[in-house]
Symmetry: C2
Subunit: 443 residues, 2 copies
């Protein structure tokens, strides 16, 4: 008998956490579908050639048949490492059969061959929404997708979060206006990308190294630290730069913010962060990241933005899009752990029917059928154990109500309903019991 242990990087849940996790996923899915986003579920496996076309081969898990001694040589299939490459492949492949704009969501595991010792997940869920246009895609979708992210966080009960937003052209236009070498612009953006993680001195040192003068450095450090309201910041920005790209970026960002208000997003949750870079070669417009103020250790729990072309390497169509990804595998366990999401039930059932006397089993089963017909998740305890054992079982699993019926209740077509939350109990008809259970469970 070997000792069984978790495989490092491949987490799994016990029942309480699994139920809580699924409940949050349900809330998220419901939000996505409220906006008409279509579920997608591509296979876990893609061609290696598809995956490495996005230039990310270091952490890809290839698959091959175990029994084939030489299977290793034929590295043609591998597990996806994100949900964006499969989306690009899917949209390119099924272009003629999709209706555009194509809104899709995809909640599914991805796999990355991280070193085990780094403590990172090697299988984790991604939770993505994207809208893909055929040739064009209005700026309003940037606001729609961001508003969905906002409503998702609200719906799952998170109060303190900030969506940091920026625009690719705003930042690149600003840097271009500094009159430094074109080739150094990506270096400046890389430096800004890590601005929060390095010291002020290190930051200034790097920027100087990229050939920036003190004035320009002051502008950037001031923007990094800014505590202006969005409105004030827009005013300020219009005064510091007249680069065409920059002005386009500011203008589009203003429009997105205006639409976000229409979508019911409170302005206090959105903060313009003009030095937010989020990588270099993918996004082309709006970019955003979300942070939870109560859990700064999580870093960004949601990121994404606008891109000019989803599937350049698979299709000759131009497919602009905008999308965001929520890191639920890190987020949800943290919310459970902090008590923000409740995980006190070990079963979806809210009623346990105890079996007092096996000869009345058909009565107990009849009761269970009645409850289930009403949509009430119900367990029967089908082992012949003492009532004490059965109540203990119900307590342990966090079941809210137990039903007890002895000969006398059965004779009168009644049951005893006991609440395990407060110990109260009532002798009731099934009709009365159903009403009480439904009321208590806010059906």
């Amino acid at each position: 008998m070997t000792m069984l242990t978790n495989i490092s990087g491949f987490p799994e849940f016990l029942p309480r956490d699994q139920l809580a996790f699924n409940k949050v996923l349900e809330l998220i899915k419901t939000q996505f579908e409220l906006y008409g986003f279509i579920p997608l579920d591509t296979p876990a496996v893609e061609r290696v050639s598809t995956l490495i076309s996005k230039g990310n081969d270091n952490e890809i898990y290839a698959i091959h048949r175990l029994a084939h001694a030489h299977g290793c040589k034929k590295k043609d299939l591998a597990l996806r490492f994100d949900l964006t490459v499969p989306l690009a492949r899917y949209v390119a492949q099924h272009y003629g059969q999709l209706t555009f704009p194509y809104r899709r969501y995809h909640i599914a595991p991805v796999w990355r061959g991280e070193r085990a010792q780094s403590g990172r997940y090697r299988q984790f869920y991604q939770c993505d929404i994207d809208v893909i246009g055929d040739g064009e895609l209005s700026l309003a979708y940037d606001a729609e997708t961001l508003s969905i992210i906002y409503h998702v966080f609200k719906t799952i009960g998170i109060k303190n979060f900030v969506i940091y937003t920026n625009h690719y052209l705003l930042l690149t236009g600003l840097i271009k206006s500094f009159d430094i070498q074109e080739s150094l612009i990506p270096c400046v953006m890389r430096t800004l990308d890590k601005a929060e993680k390095i010291s002020q001195d290190a930051l200034v040192g790097e920027l100087k190294g990229h050939g920036m003068n003190q004035n320009n450095i002051d502008v950037l450090t001031c923007l990094i630290k800014n505590s202006l309201t969005n409105e004030e910041l827009f005013q300020y920005l219009l005064g510091i730069c007249s680069n065409t790209d920059f002005l386009k970026g500011v203008c589009e960002l203003k429009e997105v913010l205006k639409l976000l208000q229409n979508f019911g997003v409170k302005d206090s949750y959105i903060r313009i962060h003009p030095t937010l870079a989020r990588g270099l070669n993918y996004y082309t417009g709006t970019i955003a990241e979300t942070k939870l103020l109560d859990f700064p250790e999580l870093g960004s729990v949601c990121g994404g933005g606008r891109y000019a072309d989803l599937a350049g390497s698979f299709s000759n169509k131009t497919l602009p899009g905008v999308g965001f990804s929520i890191g639920i595998s890190r987020l949800i366990p943290k919310l459970i752990q902090s008590g923000m999401i409740c995980a006190n039930q070990e079963t979806p059932a809210i009623v346990l029917i105890t079996v007092q006397n096996y000869k009345f089993i058909s009565y107990y089963i009849e009761i269970s059928k009645t409850l289930r017909t009403q949509g009430i998740n119900t367990e029967i305890y089908l082992e012949q154990k003492s009532l004490g054992s059965q109540l203990k079982y119900a307590h342990k699993k966090g079941i809210r109500f137990v039903i007890i019926a002895n000969e006398s209740e059965i004779f009168k077509q009644q049951i005893i309903l006991r609440s395990l939350f407060d110990g109260n109990q009532w002798t009731l008809t099934m009709h009365q019991a159903i009403k009480l259970i439904k009321d208590a469970s806010e059906f």
Copy 2:
């Protein structure tokens, strides 16, 4: 640009079929949870040693990091090939933290390295329920799990199906009573397992080859072809054999059938099939298979039964269980294809708000918020296209209602609601529109 094609054996859906597939999955999950079954979601990856402990190494997909030239040598991780081995590993590993009897369901993909040319899936969903006891597990769970299978098929709209049931001891007891060599019993069962696929002559020939006399062969062929009712068959069986195992099997099967009636399963859907074998070395009690009469080509779409010990190779506890698995990856597409499950929507939205004039975008967004607050899945068409294009989009996606609002409606705080099913349209307040949409959608 490479031509993109499906990877053989790894199917994926277009939006309509994906939505229909998910809808069926939702119905199944709801049924499972009505009975208090707990969702489980183990990682896709298990240790190779865990997987091959069940003796199934030929079709296992191992994984290794693509960039590691020598990664192949270390074949320690692989994709699961079913959901039973992960369940056994999970229950053994978390034994101390689970409450027994442990009811779990698991709906997730599994991977098998089938040869591509055989036309079989290499990734497919399994949909499993099992109840695991700690040391003991009452026979009533056999009836509960089977009744769930029955209600699942009913709920997803299948009318013509038969659940063939048998008992391991009934069949092995009967064969033992034939007084053939003990070592030939598995051979007889293997022959019975394929009885439907071979000719009568071939069947008789094989049984003779296993040393059976004509009398015994007559008993078996008579049982294979039997058209008795369950009640008549029980009578018949009690007359042909007095082997202890056999009698215990008959007796347990009778009890399961009685309980199934209590659980609301109509007797006509259950057929005792005394020669049903379902493999040899796993099941120890009740066994069952489900076939759809309208789709005989699908063969068995659900199978399973009772086993004496789930996790013998991982645990020194005795963990008896009973469970069934539905082959949804073959079943659901067939139901969609036949029209039994409707797949005429390309979006979860039932309303499309058209954008007649972009300057009123805030009004359109306001309407969308109102509808979503009422739980009505709603899309807005955010591109500036003609109304004709927008209606075409709604038609193409199978959206039921469109909302149109021009200056005059907006001025009166009204909207035009048009049904794309019959072309009717009404000028309404939002309050009236919500009522009409909800009534039509049977909220």
